[in-house]
Symmetry: C2
């Protein structure tokens, strides 16, 4: 990882600069709309539907929400993580003395069993850099195979954070490899934020195009708000930076299961929660928010609110994404849609803030790495 | 349906005209690429892999194939059928005397349990026209619900062709509704063909964009070939018309199960096969090729070849589309990919015709209407 002292400032301009660096390596993933889901988001629930939920007894909110999905499930390696990894690696390559000092051969290292592992392996390979990936021995065989498939040197460890960090430290000591953490670093945050820039541009283009096609003046110039999943917060904070000064509000979405909503609890409690232990189905969001993302999300207040949903709501949203959007999205990626559809706090806020006009709301479909076997287990036998 | 005598000629220019009619009603669905699948299509199989298949003993072909997927699974109602239905309905509305004669109230009718039913219901509703849809009582409850959801008047029938046609005829006699068949009509063919135009344009744009981004001159200006699924042949023939005179070759892909490859057998046998009885997993492709499509596909030779694949190959391709493309596509939509990956006849032909250069091959992901319960049944318990 590039030295912190050399990192660009955490500003929208730095996100724009990061986009210039990563654009040739990553897909400008499509943005799609879906009338059925927008209609569902804009339909007030009934009192009966809220019975038996945590919203029982409330008057159902009646917001108007037009949804725009940013399809990072169609990103390289199947998730937005490619952006941060390419940005981090490109910055390393540009760091004075790193390549000359044998950096490419010494390589990069991370400990991850998820999308970051594959993203870093890919970014390293395309830059001719050795990648050492520390993975727990209990990782899913497909994930291990995929990471090896990108040419990485996979090293096994125990599954606790301490065990993984210990192995990563040993690899660094033995090889001189540089650590590239999954989210808690400015280079990663700026890289992930490039997706927010694209989403803003694409929606503005689509609105203009729609206006041209209908022969009317464009009613609006872009999004009112973006909601992104929050695990370690690298992507949420990057998206928030990409929106700074634009007037677009940014929200974070988390699972609530077993305290996975550390970001929300910290945000409203006034202090970052540094550790979490949860087995939420949204497995990409099991990590606590990192210190660097926290500074952007909470201290600088670039995120306007945090929301959380239940496991059942996440699975219901995933079914809708599969059946209505025709997209394979992993459970973590469906958390923002679950908030938009099911979280009465969020919905009441939108109704209040957006009024009759409603909001154009961007949702980040952050990744699509879920196997058909897992889909089969989640939905098999139901109808 | 508009009278045959008033139909535009079956030419590329008529497809362009149809596009002008339907473009404001349908999505310009995205085109996506996938490096992993292109690499798989470009990797020669091994003799061992061909053992136990119908290709055992052959030298594995080694074509170079770059795949471009046209995502009609993201089309309105989840399938390309929206194009033909909107075109047919718009043409009816323009037919002299039809609206004035009470056509909107008399309505339109079709017999279908599949995507055409929903597409016609939608197109009718958006034109303020009554839609009568004859569906077998054994249709899946979701399909019935979806069709009613688009405001159609659903009428039940027995499940044989004769029973369905009888009920449709009765509805026509009682209401004066006009029949809009699913594929065997020029207006439908021209409507479906609009997708082929977009695919050609989009790939050309993407190639030019790629060239700009890399600072090199564009190596090519567009596709070499397109492969589309073939059921009734309305879409395949429309795509073939959209390619006439462009030099782009068009191929049809079918399931082979229980004789579902009637198009291929007819094409190489010299005569259209008018009836088929198959329960292939590719349920959109269980119909025989219609007479009007046949004239384009076979008599005018606008389709350059027909290929077929097994049930296992279709399911394997569907798994790849789900896991690698992150797309929900119904089994019918995965048949062209199965041909590109597994049909040694097709692959040997590409190797021979395309040589070192390889081909840029457009594949039509024709629809995404498959529920998570069905996906669960197909893949549940496997890994």
């Amino acid at each position: 990882m590039a030295n912190l002292s050399t990192c660009p400032p955490l500003t929208r301009a730095s996100v724009v600069e990061a986009h210039g660096v990563v654009a040739r390596h990553v897909h400008r993933t499509p943005v799609v709309t879906n009338r059925t889901l927008s209609a569902m988001a804009s339909r007030a629930g009934t009192a009966a539907e809220l019975e038996g939920t945590r919203w029982a007894g409330r008057t159902p909110a009646a917001p108007k929400i037009r949804l725009w999905f940013k399809c990072e499930n169609l990103q390289r390696v199947g998730a937005f993580k490619a952006r941060g990894a390419f940005h981090a690696v490109e910055r390393l390559v540009r760091e004075e003395g790193w390549v000359a000092g044998g950096g490419r051969e010494k390589g990069v290292v991370t400990h991850s069993s998820g999308n970051h592992a594959q993203a870093l392996a890919l970014a390293a390979r395309e830059n001719g850099i050795t990648a050492h990936i520390v993975m727990p021995t209990i990782s899913m065989p497909q994930k291990i195979a995929a990471t090896k498939g990108y040419g990485a040197n996979v090293i096994f460890s125990g599954s606790t954070s301490a065990e993984r960090e210990e192995v990563a430290a040993r690899v660094m000591a033995e090889t001189g490899a540089r650590l590239v953490p999954p989210y808690d670093h400015p280079d990663i945050m700026l890289g992930q934020g490039t997706m927010g820039l694209e989403l803003q541009e694409q929606v503005a283009e689509m609105m203009a195009e729609e206006a041209r096609a209908s022969g009317k003046a464009a009613a609006k110039r872009g999004l009112d708000a973006i909601m992104a999943p929050c695990g370690g917060g690298g992507m949420l904070s990057g998206v928030a930076l990409s929106c700074e000064g634009t007037g677009i509000r940014v929200f974070g979405a988390e699972p609530s299961h077993q305290g996975a909503d550390d970001g929300k609890r910290g945000y409203y409690g006034g202090a970052r929660i540094p550790s979490v232990s949860t087995l939420t189905v949204a497995d990409g969001l099991r990590t606590p928010v990192g210190a660097h993302p926290w500074a952007v999300i909470y201290e600088r207040r670039l995120v306007a609110g945090m929301y959380s949903v239940t496991e059942e709501e996440i699975v219901a949203a995933m079914r809708l994404v599969l059946e209505r959007c025709k997209m394979v999205a992993e459970p973590s990626a469906c958390v923002p849609l679950a908030v938009a559809l099911f979280d009465e706090e969020f919905r009441a806020m939108v109704e209040r803030e957006a009024g009759e006009e409603g909001w154009d709301l961007g949702l980040v479909l952050s990744g699509g790495n879920v196997g058909v076997d897992a889909i089969g287990r989640m939905f098999g036998g139901t109808s």
